[in-house]
Amino acid sequence: MTTRIVELRRGILKKNDELAAGLRQSYSAAGVLVLNLVSSPGTGKTAFLEWTLRELKARGSRVAALVGDLETDNDARRLAASGAPVRQINTHGICHLDAEMIGKHLDGWEGVALSGLDYLFIENVGNLVCPSSYDLGEKIRVALLSVTEGEDKPLKYPTMFNSADAAVITKIDISEPCGFDRDLALRNINEIRPGIRIFETSAKTGAGMEEWLGYLAEAQKVLG
């Protein structure tokens, strides 16, 4: 037996990372702000995004969304009610979106060109673990957490919260009946991702949403 050690030093997700770098370049060239929304199932990503798309559109922004789920196009249909172009990505069992899926769905998207958009939202598969490993070329990764989930979610899923650029607390309209400890939640998020921008929102009452839209507009402006 002749054995030999071969140094590889290769990123395991190199293929995804390369595709994501290509996407990032095309987003940047098109001047579109791309956000990747990640959370557990049931946090309210879709309701939050519905509100965001509708409001941005009403204020004259050009918006679109890609939405990932294992099965069904229910979320795409909900989001399409905003009037924005929405495309469903069904992963058929895969627990996250990857850069290849995004590239494919952008390519064949009739009537939608990146250069014609100000914002592109990607609603990831509801999962707080796997999507954190897959770069989609986004500028901003947003981790969402609802008041019904427990304040220690950031401590339980540190890899996701640590990789996020912004955090959104959803459903604050029901924080009281849920016994939600706001200070503890904010502290936990900050413990895992020091200094992260946190938005406390309700898609039902619109609370905190103006601040969120202001943040988006600011991030969009600095793109160009």
Binding site: M1, T2, T3, R4, I5, V6, E7, L8, R9, R10, G11, I12, L13, K14, K15, I94, C95, H96, N127, V129, C130, S132, S133, L155, P158, T159, M160, N162, S163, N190, E191, I192, R193, P194, G195
Partner: protein, 123 residues
């Protein structure tokens, strides 16, 4: 839960790198996995057996070297290794640290191959 896709990617990458060593059999694959990489070493090993079946990696060992998180503390002006991923505070001064210097790695460090296999096959 995405360990199978990760392992599949490992098998592909290693198989590609074997083109320089035709007929070689893989004995060991060494990974460097950061504590923030969202990967469970046990699940990787479990999936590895399945994904490597029928490839030159079949029967090889998977060695997962887990790297702790290293942050940069601005107050101490030094890097500091963390015990876990429950708090990103400098273990020396308690300052919250946002800058990660190590812990997100997910890479194949090296492979050990048996080249004799090639000779035996030809013979």
């Amino acid at each position: 839960m995405h360990e199978l896709s990760i392992v599949t990617s490992i098998v592909e990458t290693v198989t590609e790198s074997l083109t320089a060593y035709p007929g070689a059999r893989v004995l060991e694959v060494r990974l460097r996995v950061g504590a923030l990489a969202s990967v469970v070493p046990d699940s990787l090993e479990f999936c590895y057996g399945i994904a490597s079946e029928g490839t030159p990696l079949e029967g090889s060992r998977l060695v997962v070297n887990v790297l702790p998180v290293v942050v940069h503390c601005e107050r101490c002006a030094q890097d500091a290794e963390l015990d876990g991923v429950q708090s990103f505070r400098c273990p020396r001064c308690g300052e919250l640290c946002g800058e990660i210097r190590q812990g997100r790695e997910l890479e194949i460090e090296s492979i050990e191959i048996d080249e004799m296999n090639k000779v035996e096959e030809i013979a």
